[in-house]
Homo-oligomer: 676 residues x 3
Amino acid sequence: MSTVFAPRSFLFGGDYNPEQWSTDVWLDDIALMKRARVNTVTLGVFSWAMLEPREGEYDADWLDQIIQLLDEAGIGFFLATPTASPPPWFSLAHPDALPVRPDGVRLRHGSRDTYAVSAPVYRAASRRIARFLADRYGAHPGLRGWHLHNEYGTLDYGPHAAAAFRRWLQDRYGSLEALNTAWYTAFWSQRYGSWDEIEPPMATQYLHNPTQVVDFRRFSSDEMLAAFEEQKQEIRASGSSAPVTTNFMLPTWNHLEQWSWSDAQDIVSIDHYLDTVGPDAEAHVAYGSDLTRSWAGGPWVLMEQNATGIRVGNRTFAKTPDRMIRNSLGYIARGAQSSLFFQWRAAAGGSEQWHGALVPHGGGTSRGFDTVVQLGAALESIAEVTQPPASGPLVDAQVGIVWDAEGWWALETPHLPNESMNYSDEARATHRSFWRAGIPTDFVRPGADISQYRLLVVPTLYAMDSVVADWLRAYVDAGGRLLVSYLTGVADENQQVLGGGYPGLLRDLLGIRVDEILPLAPGEKLALSDGLTAEEWTERVDVTGAAVVHRYADGPLAGAPAVTESAVGDGVAVYLSARLDQTSRDAFLAAQAAAVGAGPTLAGSAALGVEAVRRRGAEADYLFLLHHGSEPVRVSGGGTDLLTATDLAEGLVIAPGGVAVVREDQAASVVIESVA
Amino acid sequence: MSTVFAPRSFLFGGDYNPEQWSTDVWLDDIALMKRARVNTVTLGVFSWAMLEPREGEYDADWLDQIIQLLDEAGIGFFLATPTASPPPWFSLAHPDALPVRPDGVRLRHGSRDTYAVSAPVYRAASRRIARFLADRYGAHPGLRGWHLHNEYGTLDYGPHAAAAFRRWLQDRYGSLEALNTAWYTAFWSQRYGSWDEIEPPMATQYLHNPTQVVDFRRFSSDEMLAAFEEQKQEIRASGSSAPVTTNFMLPTWNHLEQWSWSDAQDIVSIDHYLDTVGPDAEAHVAYGSDLTRSWAGGPWVLMEQNATGIRVGNRTFAKTPDRMIRNSLGYIARGAQSSLFFQWRAAAGGSEQWHGALVPHGGGTSRGFDTVVQLGAALESIAEVTQPPASGPLVDAQVGIVWDAEGWWALETPHLPNESMNYSDEARATHRSFWRAGIPTDFVRPGADISQYRLLVVPTLYAMDSVVADWLRAYVDAGGRLLVSYLTGVADENQQVLGGGYPGLLRDLLGIRVDEILPLAPGEKLALSDGLTAEEWTERVDVTGAAVVHRYADGPLAGAPAVTESAVGDGVAVYLSARLDQTSRDAFLAAQAAAVGAGPTLAGSAALGVEAVRRRGAEADYLFLLHHGSEPVRVSGGGTDLLTATDLAEGLVIAPGGVAVVREDQAASVVIESVA
Amino acid sequence: MSTVFAPRSFLFGGDYNPEQWSTDVWLDDIALMKRARVNTVTLGVFSWAMLEPREGEYDADWLDQIIQLLDEAGIGFFLATPTASPPPWFSLAHPDALPVRPDGVRLRHGSRDTYAVSAPVYRAASRRIARFLADRYGAHPGLRGWHLHNEYGTLDYGPHAAAAFRRWLQDRYGSLEALNTAWYTAFWSQRYGSWDEIEPPMATQYLHNPTQVVDFRRFSSDEMLAAFEEQKQEIRASGSSAPVTTNFMLPTWNHLEQWSWSDAQDIVSIDHYLDTVGPDAEAHVAYGSDLTRSWAGGPWVLMEQNATGIRVGNRTFAKTPDRMIRNSLGYIARGAQSSLFFQWRAAAGGSEQWHGALVPHGGGTSRGFDTVVQLGAALESIAEVTQPPASGPLVDAQVGIVWDAEGWWALETPHLPNESMNYSDEARATHRSFWRAGIPTDFVRPGADISQYRLLVVPTLYAMDSVVADWLRAYVDAGGRLLVSYLTGVADENQQVLGGGYPGLLRDLLGIRVDEILPLAPGEKLALSDGLTAEEWTERVDVTGAAVVHRYADGPLAGAPAVTESAVGDGVAVYLSARLDQTSRDAFLAAQAAAVGAGPTLAGSAALGVEAVRRRGAEADYLFLLHHGSEPVRVSGGGTDLLTATDLAEGLVIAPGGVAVVREDQAASVVIESVA
């Protein structure tokens, strides 16, 4: 990312699809937008069939009209390229551009995302429609930015993908010999004698080759990035200088390597959908925000959230108004420059007619829209927060958590000792512990400058290259405290396990050697010393240089080391050999943070159920207080709540579910306490 | 349906496949049939390969012989067209006539139902074999009727289906513009520019278009009906005037729109298989019977049931003799003119060799066959019941339940707020409540004359057109009591949600406006006032004209309206916003019936475990007493039990599991009480 | 099997894949092998791509080198033909030789076993590579035997399989009429008019034809056996006289008819992987061993086991050292001539990089390898045990259990009365009961000489031909005690149910007639008399000549016969009509054994948790004592523990987890007792 995105007020609005509605509805839309103080919409996502109804014939009059209406109302817009959903005529003319599943089934049109990203004809058509839009709207004053495509992430296993995969492999490995070595093809007679023999990991008789699996993920991310770059080139070639982004998704699967993708964008944006209605939804907001701020290296854009619903399993639960507002400010607390939603108006038909919206089916007179109006007012009252500090981070964190998409993919290779281990769960559980303690964290790119962190945590980074291992050693040498968990540094970048005892890449640094992995049974719990409890994963650890901090207290490892600590250079390298249950993980990670003096943003806050986040600004620092708890709290100290324009000296009470955004007069003077 | 089917005695027998057996077994069959007083068999289902062993070469000598044997024994027959299972030679010669799954896999021969109903070559072959049979047997005096095909319901997604689907859509919509509007194709870039672009809902990347899904179901039902009509034309063209039927199936899926199919038949028949061994099996008998009688508009034919087994999940439980007889009479109580079974003799081989039969593997000396002989005698003793009343309904019901296949299909569209909602469950749960209270019900076709019903219930009819909404209003205006449940009238016939608050089509009639839908979590229960309990579904209801009858007592809606009542014209429109658990539903629906004075057939009967059904006849009314309970009951009053030829004046005790069929001397004089 | 395989010491080692490693690792391998006293490795499994890197070009220099190294170290080898995994170049050149799933999906290269065994080009290529190896290594003095292919068992449903299936059917049935009769094709219009119409049981609309299903399994086993025989012919044609084997697998599926396969081999070998970490793992060792010894008719080879892990579900649990050694000796106690493992050295990469190994990732200094060294020493100390007795069986069993692969396949046909019944479960549960009682058992081939058994048990052999039924009758006539369970002899070899009451083939012999089958619900338990408990399956039994031994005590069958006994000729035929739960089965089968005086190998042993097995040898008998229990035991009597060289007269204490191998001085003089 090359620029800091700092609009004068928070972007407020959402995906807007006027092509679904008659023009009288457009006028109602504009009136409702004004009422809610909406200032930004996203146009054009999935509008390809409207914009290019027949190959090479364009019709954007409707778009001109709506942009003019928006413009007159002072509402800006992101403009999307519609390439996530080619029109039916395209699929009929080019069936080879439909995506193919691993079992060879070619998917059909009739939903969305039915494209094979490697199909040349699809790529060419994508460039053309991007260029058409760029030429027509690239210099429009209302244009806030380009929203390329939508939620890249459609994998394809068809012939075009196979050909592109082979080219990518040739680039990566140079020679078949190097590929055969990296892929360990001596196993199961997989040795390749020509590039043509190589395929994506299609349906096969038994387990896939793990390196092939990970390389196909790397390739897919790179291939989609190339498609993104091509569209960006068209934008730039047209002369448009508006910032470019694409909206990430991060559900239970992950098909992009976000660090390199973030490099390629002017603004980093994300679509974020809660996956629980329980209290952990709040931790999920923080997790998504910290990840995206870290990818962006600063302010970012929340491109989509759901105003009224939370989809879990096969049902859409209602999101309460207080949670809707609190979540929206929660994203902002951690760096969002926006509160944008999918979608502006609930669709009457189509596959997502029941998806939440700013304007529900009930229309402008509805509980849902009332909440939107409230949010609009709140955002206006905190507009100054958008301006970033002249220097330094938006949120000051002393704890870093390494995040690596390859770590995710590596844990999806077949036949690991415990296949229920999951990168996403590990990263979220780690982040959750710090969040519960009120301690701010960043996510960290392997190889990045990490001198600002006192504690660096590496959760289950199963595979890594020696450069990353060296980077970790240098961090410790320089005085850092490094916490490495089980199943980290065990394999190299080709998913090959290093010999001589686990974890081969970090054994020396950690001063230990793992001789045996002992997964626990599903649901099984095992006691460690000091009240900690393990689940899922334990290891037989021999200490070769480290001191023992905690031991196994029960089971076949009773008395053996469970957690060790090794002094290296000016720092300390800690090894955690067991998966801790969440409660134990909370206690353990809080202790690790305490060991380096990394404390909560606001003392006592977490215990009262209040999430406190300090976002640094140009003029002042802003203390966001998000009250997830059940009893009112009193806040005092030097500052002013921007939402209610209350001077804290007068005393501010935050009701359960409420929020305050305190412009701090002086650093860390705010005090929080129970009202009772 | 155009004629009233009233044989002189109940049709008794079942599917008979002599082609599986040697002629010595045929003679044993005839002897056993006589012993059991069998009077009807169904021949020819799945006999295509025997009748036409090579394309265009017919061999029906074996069928001539068996028909002659049956004729000599005085046994009549339904004759099936064998088109549900084309022979192997047909599939080899015409692979394009094999059905294709949504993922494009073409299924192969080797089971049954491996036909693509839209394949021209299949349709032509079906006409030919139907005509062959009609020409040869159409005037046979033993022919009771034509049994076209078997259990229509095989969906096909292949090229022939796609072409036929496009033609059907052209008929329905006239223009692509109309289709694009109805299908809401502005969403996700699905706009169609030519008919050729449209496909069945094949495997795709994400959610299907809901209107496409429902239209494909409508098309499939119509397409199968067209195939049925073609066969019927051949029958009629041959000069045969025997009544025509096809046997419906109604398991957990539904591929036919039964009202229009019933119009096309001379006799409405159904195959009915229990899906539980628990007490609810009895409610299932009543449900299937009431549905079929309603479709038929009078007497109907039970074409198949299982004499000895109940298949649930992966096992076949034994059906007890008392249940076998009680169920058989239960169907008759509610209008069946038959007790026919699949199958006469248990097959020695083939895929259903373990399916139940009148003659089990054990043969004529078996517990199973003993029960059959008992049933044959019982049926003979009640033969007079077959004759319908000169006017008026067979079963007099004051409660109607709307039933609509499109309601079923609409609830199978993707991404509804709670996808665990299921039309079949809702309809059965509603019927079950009335059944438990002993209150007779009819099912009602949308738009039908409903002046005879005091209470009309509409369970979860998510989508409807304005004609149906007007029809409901007219019913209330004229003094009816209408009960509408959650998720009814929310969308139009194109599955498009009406704006302005739910349910858009009925909001005014009901005097309410639903602002928000709040599904409950799986297993979650929520208290309403007056002891009612909700599960799965609740709503935030604003009353605009209605009175509140029950309120939510707990949760986020505590205090808000849950059930409302609105006086409209001469009637009342009740709205139920929550899914009630079965116990609460029972209490609630009994109260609704009581409000219009719709009571049980026999007071006190249900509490004793006795199902009482009055079937009206030509000479008298017949009170069927089906004892599902555990203690003996005493019956008295004016009448005669036909099964035991006992005058009720002498006192009749029905043992647990037993049945009485009382020819009533005077209306409603029968009294039931506990023996103890 | 034609020869008795009796090496001078136990084969110790495992699969060795030097092609995965550099030559410096080879030297480490040899050193570690020597340290562990390894004497045998298996080379070449999955080495095709290394041996024939391009079609027709061979490269075996690396194999020459490693064989020379092994030879110098005195280590022998099995040489595998690598045909279980054709190289990528082969699949690219011959896509028709890839296997096809039942739904028509052609699987792709990239795992292993991606071959269509019926493809002529695959068969020809397999012969060529086998011949190449045979010519080059067939006379090598270190060659212990030929290991053809690996774990035959890949089913193919593609066109080559279809063609071969048709040829096989023509051989089996001679005429289409015979096939139509056997397959009962009169059902569902499946009558075949030409051979070309017949296909493998591909994906179809509904249930498959059961005879087609079983015939396809028979064909697949025969087809794979033909491929095996071809390779064997090449071996023999080359002049090599080394014994030939292939390694069986027997997990939850079974694709081979092992008796005929065993006939075709010189050595019978098996790969055996535990499927539980619980105490039942020990019973599983005994089950696999007794099966393989029975198939072999004497000594056999354990070709693979896992040294360090037990894979259950999605995780690999650690195998404890004591279990590793105890299991290894457990296989030997029951006839194994080897302790071979997959694999020698844990792979660094590939799909099974986390599979256990003799040399774990940790290398020679690891808990895993320490255990291997211990085992090597133990095996050397008992080397004399390898020599079989001059006559008579290796293990003397008076109880036989019938085992038939067709029984397995028959229970996988569709729509049985209870599809949760499973041949493998039944066979294992039966064997487990005897194992728990310490009573030795053999498995028995239908039709074999069984005069040595006092008790013959036939678990759930649903389908059989009359020859088998006659063989059972002859056994009883001659004085044997026969125990037949539910669902045995019900259908003939064509899966056709015999009429007149179940079980049609054994009704007269058993003196009973089953009129009705009453499966229980999942989890349901039902009491029989005498404290026995039924689950899953019960039957209504009429006795026609038998005496009643146990009765149903509860439920609809209360008071009816459950177990009967019929005196026939000089023997007794017992019928068990209910599936007993394991505890009841244990008691019941122990009583059956007691009735014929078949007792445990060592009185009192089982109660102490010690498995006692007597393996007969050339010089003496050897009593293996495998201590699975938790308290130490004392052993005395006439003999010497070979592992510790302790004379039992001095008193031998076996610790929990430990093992003794006692060379007995006199028959049955050893006494075991608790130490406490």
